[in-house]
């Protein structure tokens, strides 16, 4: 244990008001901000409220703002601030209502999650399985890394500064929608929902969500922009609109396509052919 000390200024209060209180802790190599908070809880301020769980950057519970930057406290080393003579400021996530001290009410995110139509896969193949290739799902695996810490929701200025919590889904749920829309087995068309209910047009691509993501998900380039382009396909592309009009086609519905493709999918066809060929050989 080293005798090095660090000073933290922590927000204490709730939604109706609060103040910064100053604490001093002894630091040690490898110590993270959450360790410092726990140290203060244990030795100085038992009533200090903080939400945490895994302390390993997996559960996404301990999101807060350290020196104004949205971070997971368990993944933020105290040593990162060694050169800063000022106290380390720890505040709750600003975009959400404060319950107490560093604990915020993130339930608006769960309400938004409930609005997303669930995964609706095409019918299973004849042998009762679903088949898809690695190439098909590579993209969406990145989105599955999300730990729902909501740092992206917190830093998104549409939610944080403009308060559009009901009109705009926010980055976390736009990539959730992207994961479903890009899924090779999914049959639902969610683009109208994306455009209207989820307000994808509110996003002006300022990329703060990507900058703060502790899982390093490329939210903007791989999730939001592709979805903006897909919405543009259906709603903002006059050439496609004209082709649909002249061709007498209804807006292309994703629902009908994968099922047809499934029936002629390469692995199944190949397998059937092989069986037939084997029988013919017999």
């Amino acid at each position: 244990m080293s005798d090095k000390k660090a000073t933290l200024k922590i927000y204490r209060g709730d939604n109706d008001g609060g103040e910064f209180k100053t604490y001093e802790v002894e630091t040690y190599p490898g110590m993270v901000v959450l360790d410092a908070i726990h140290d203060i809880q244990a030795k100085q301020e038992p009533g200090l409220a903080v939400r945490w769980n895994c302390k390993a950057g997996r559960c996404g519970s301990c999101g807060a703002e350290v020196n104004g930057k949205p971070k997971l406290m368990c993944m933020t080393r105290m040593s990162a601030y060694d050169d800063d003579p000022e106290p380390i400021m720890v505040t709750p996530m600003k975009a959400f209502p404060i319950l107490k001290d560093l604990v915020t009410d993130v339930s608006q995110n769960f309400r938004m999650a409930q609005k997303i139509p669930a995964f609706a896969p095409r019918p299973r193949e004849a042998d009762g399985t679903h088949r898809m290739q690695q190439d098909d799902i590579e993209r969406i695996q990145e989105f599955r890394k999300c730990i729902e810490c909501f740092l992206c929701q917190n830093t998104c200025h549409v939610i944080r500064d403009h308060g559009k919590k009901e009109d705009f889904a926010g980055p976390r749920f736009l990539i959730a929608m992207a994961g479903l829309d890009m899924h090779p087995l999914d049959t639902l068309d969610r683009r109208e929902l994306l455009k209207d209910e989820f307000g994808i047009g509110y996003c002006n691509i300022t990329r703060c969500c990507t900058e703060v993501c502790p899982e390093h998900i490329n939210i903007t380039d791989n999730g939001i922009i592709p979805m903006k382009e897909r919405v543009a396909d259906d709603y903002f592309d006059p050439v496609r609109w004209l082709i649909r009009k002249v061709g007498g086609e209804e807006k292309k519905k994703k629902a009908s396509l994968p099922v047809i493709q499934n029936e002629t999918s390469t692995p199944v066809v190949k397998k059937k052919k092989t069986e037939k060929a084997a029988k013919a050989d017999e």
Partner: protein
């Protein structure tokens, strides 16, 4: 349980207010300075209407060469650059990278991540006034068309000499400009979507394998889109400046072979 979020004074709200201690303003300030300088320079060159062509070299701001004699006697001077620059400018205006850059630097919406915005204002994102941003794919087609002209100029810079084929520094400069613009254009998000990003099931889609490979290739370039965006912007400015310098005789164009 709290039902609404409030901006507590102790947590700082208002324009530029933040607890961040890093130089968050340096990025937007530099961006604003560079873009403004480029616009000023391009405007000057557009009105100058001279020193854009010498030997086989043609400034990228005046490529393709347009005869503006039809506008003689008009109350407003018209140059080829004025007719041309709208095309590439629309590509950069609607570019997914530049959108971040200028929304932060000029609109300050937001000025930085977790930094307070200017005073309360109506925000519609890209739903109303900026809804045209959705037409980025059409500006991509325009940009690709311009690449054809610029590569033509690059080849002309090599073989278009009155005394045959030879390589000068100017040839390299013009070729570098065409290369950087090609990298910027081919790393475009809209192109990434069009070549394969719009496919859900590569293994079953028509030409799925090819589209997957194309999408992967554009994705590799796309990761450096910001870099190419800036390099190509500097490339255009410097190439034009080089052609102008040669044209006014500021220095001679060195011959390599």
């Amino acid at each position: 349980m709290a039902s609404k979020s409030v901006h507590l004074s102790v947590l700082q709200s208002g324009f530029g207010k933040t607890l961040r201690r890093d130089n968050w303003w340096a990025g937007p300030a530099t961006t604003g300075l560079i873009i403004t300088s480029f616009i000023v320079y391009a405007t000057f060159r557009g009105f100058e209407n001279a020193h854009y062509e010498i030997g086989p070299y043609l400034s990228p701001m005046y490529s393709p060469l347009i005869d503006t004699s039809f506008a003689k006697g008009w109350p407003i001077p018209v140059s080829g650059a004025m007719l041309i620059l709208g095309g590439p400018a629309s590509f950069r205006l609607t570019c997914y990278y530049y959108r971040k850059a200028y929304y932060r630097a000029f609109a300050m919406d937001p000025p930085g991540c977790a930094v307070g915005e200017r005073n309360a204002h109506t925000y519609n994102g890209e739903r109303k006034l900026w809804i045209f941003q959705n037409l980025h794919r059409f500006t991509l087609y325009i940009a690709i068309m311009f690449l054809v002209f610029l590569w033509h100029d690059a080849v002309k810079g090599l073989i278009g000499w009155s005394d045959g084929t030879h390589l000068n520094v100017g040839t390299l400069v013009i070729t570098m400009n065409a290369t950087l613009l090609s990298l910027y254009t081919l790393s475009c998000h809209a192109l990434r979507h069009l070549v394969g990003g719009n496919v859900n099931s590569y293994s079953t889609a028509f030409l799925g394998g090819l589209r997957f490979r194309l999408w992967k290739a554009v994705s590799v370039l796309n990761e450096r889109h910001m870099l190419f965006a800036w390099m190509s912007l500097f490339g255009v400015g410097l190439t034009d400046f080089y052609v102008r310098c040669i044209s006014v005789g500021a220095f001679a164009d060195a011959r390599i072979f």
